[in-house]
Amino acid sequence: MRAIPVARMTLALAVVAATAACSTTSGGDAAEGGKAGGTLTVASPYPTQSLDPHGAAGAATGTQIAGQAIFSRLVRAKPDGEMIGDFATKWDVDPQATTWTFTLRDGVTFSDGSAADSADVVASIKRVVDLKGPNAANFTGIDAKADGPGKVVLSTAKPDPALLGKLTLLFITPSDVTEQSFTKPVGSGPFRVDSFTPGQTLELLPNPDYYGGAPKLDKLVMRVIPEVSARMTALKTGEIQATWGIPDDQVAQLQGDDGLTVQSVPATSVYTMWFNSGVPALAKPEVRRALWQAVDFDTIVTSLYPQTGEVSKSVLAPAVLGYSALEPPKYDAAAAKAALQAAGFDFSTKLRLQFSGADYRQFIQAVVADLNKIGVKAEAAEKESAVFLEDLLAMRWDINFQSLSTPTFDAATNLGRLYTCAAKRNGYCNPQLDTVLNEAGSISDANKRKELYAQASQIIWSDAVGMYPMSLKIAYAWRSEVHGLEPNPSYLPDFSTVTLS
């Protein structure tokens, strides 16, 4: 997965192709483990390229999944979005949501034996900001101070009610780390690093000093198998024992296998297809609404994603704070065509639908086919992820496809960040929406915020800033000897409580 170097936006399910070079699988020690604590071998759909959670790879799922195993965080999110303490045991916030006080757990040590305290938290925040990685924007402007070794005070100039969500991406490292430390980093998480080959394998051992109790496993091996069919075969043969992010057509195949458990969990991702409202042809909301109406998303979603997709009812996924159900447009090609004609849409305009990632190819082609059916000249433009990102930010597209996830479970992440006039991300500018979003981003009352984000969603939805056809589920599959694996909505399963029989 490529990280998008803008705040926390992650592009879920992005191309794995970049690491195609390491597609050969080396069987080996996976199978022999099985008894006692045993070795758990898993394959993540996203390669881990770096173990430095503060740097350029900080927003990549591959780095985050390694990060949560190796490091602890102040708070973390449960799969349902509830925030629970990790390194911090409790926290208080003032009513303006500008000053947060975290009380740290006593007696936490790093895996090299040194004590972890508030100085490390402050240093970690500073390092994220200094490295200017994709997560830096989350913490810029935060004044972090240690209040004795057991307390940290974070104060922000402007109210930041979504801070807790952002802190789930802050991994605490020792204060004296350098770039070289991350070949074999030291952390206070449930696991410690045994060996690491970037983009290929990460081998972890349990951390006996972990305050939550050392994991029962003898060893955890995270591998990368970029080719989907090879990954499925590896799961069936027992070469790996768990994998996730399984494409729908493979899910049915795995469900027929008795030795496997397959479970889907609603993700925080929504397929988001912005229209570039800055392009003259797409400037009118009537045109955008008609295009949305012209695509039979019901059929597309139910045929292509019977197990892992659901027609979306909002800009946001249901688990995200600020979600409110809305009514998706009814598919009607004739009405859509009539509406386009009425709005004076020029049917000779070529609409380039840009996307990145082979996983989305079928979906995009189906959308393009429906648009072509009513005479709209839509064209799929598949781009390499770096090119895609560059073009996305430079607005060189007519329709843009992304699977937008909200790892922080807070609407501020995507709505507040992407839909304001100042954001300039999709050519859409509505002062009324700006007012609502600004207010929602500056108060701490959760109920009031929910209400405001519902209003914002309604505006975005009815003005068809984009099409929001599908909310995603992530399919997990594991072999019968694996117990206690809880499917995670952000592609970040926690292995610290997993056992093998």
């Binding site: 057509d249 597309i300 292509l304 082979a358 079928q362 189906a366 393009v368």
Partner: protein, 311 residues
């Protein structure tokens, strides 16, 4: 078993030769069929690569589609007909093969003849450039070029011809080198025939036969390379049909819907094999006629190519 062997042993030699005679035309007939399908197939079979029919996705060969039609070779994950993709893919493959080989041959023969006939500094410069290019893996260069630009037929043809002309140049040069010292060329030179005329009248005709043979074998490799590029997703745009793309689509479905990759793979393999056989036939044909006519010419001709003619 023994009966069969006896039968074979007792088969009169005349019949054997007729059997062989029939086989001689086999590769040409198969390649001809592909060309025919490429030319008229799309007129008879209706297929739109952009349109999808999700209700008919992943149908096995011979299944009935929702509108009552028959999916002869099954459908892909977007409900598109595999038979249509095979037929339209033939046109793509043959077009790209022909264009690329024509471009390669044109550039290669020109460079080769100039280098071979004029010799000295010209030859040294051209030959060394060829040597340098030869050291570069052709498919890697093609991937770089195809990856840099927007996908289109032109880009694919140029990317593949980029190293495709080298064998033509090497072979032509070697032949021109020997032909220019032959008596009739020397005679023409003494009589004051202009260089251009000597090259076109007295050198080129000796080169053309082997070039045709080389073009045939090259054609197969180009078709394969195009499928390879499309398989990697850097070949043709999704609006055109390519066997490579179809095979790539099917790779995730090998255990559940084998027909997606199998049929285009099969037709691709058959085409490449038969074009290769045809090329070998050309090769041995020119080898023989060459021996009758300009002896040294043909000997050099056959060394210019890695693929030798079959006996």
């Amino acid at each position: 078993m023994t009966g069969a062997i006896t039968d074979l042993a007792e088969t009169p030699p005349v019949v054997r030769r007729r059997w062989w005679g029939f086989l001689r035309w086999w590769p040409a007939a198969v390649v001809g069929l592909y060309v025919l399908v490429a030319l008229v197939g799309p007129l008879l079979v209706d297929y739109d690569p952009v349109a999808t029919g999700l209700t008919d996705r992943l149908l096995p060969p011979g299944a009935t589609t929702h509108d009552g039609g028959v999916a002869l070779l099954g459908t892909d994950p977007l409900g598109r007909d595999i038979f249509g993709q095979v037929v339209y893919g033939a046109r793509t493959s043959v077009t790209i093969g022909a264009l690329t080989v024509a471009l390669s041959a044109l550039v290669g023969v020109t460079v080769g003849v100039v280098a071979g006939y004029f010799g000295r500094a010209v030859d040294a410069t051209l030959s060394r450039s060829v040597d340098i290019l030869l050291a570069f893996p052709g498919i890697v260069l093609a991937i770089i070029v195809a990856g840099l630009f927007d996908r289109s037929i032109t880009v694919v043809v140029i990317a593949l011809a980029l190293t495709g002309w080298i064998p033509f140049a090497r072979m032509t040069r070697a032949m021109a080198l020997t032909v220019r010292d032959r008596e009739w060329v020397a005679a023409a030179r003494v009589m004051g025939v202009p260089r251009r005329t000597i090259v076109t009248r007295h050198v080129l005709p000796f080169v053309l036969g082997p070039v045709v043979a080389l073009a045939a074998t090259d054609f197969g490799l180009v078709v394969l390379a195009e499928a390879g590029l499309s398989f990697l997703g850097i070949g043709l745009p999704p609006t055109s049909v390519s066997w490579g793309q179809t095979i790539a689509t099917g790779k995730e479905y090998l255990s559940t819907a084998w027909w997606i990759s199998a049929f285009p793979g099969l037709v691709l393999a058959l085409l490449v094999v038969h074009v290769g056989l045809l090329g070998d036939q050309f090769n041995s044909y020119f080898h023989r006629t060459g021996r009758r006519g300009a002896r040294s010419t043909s000997r050099r001709g056959s060394t210019g190519r890695g693929v030798e003619g079959s006996p």
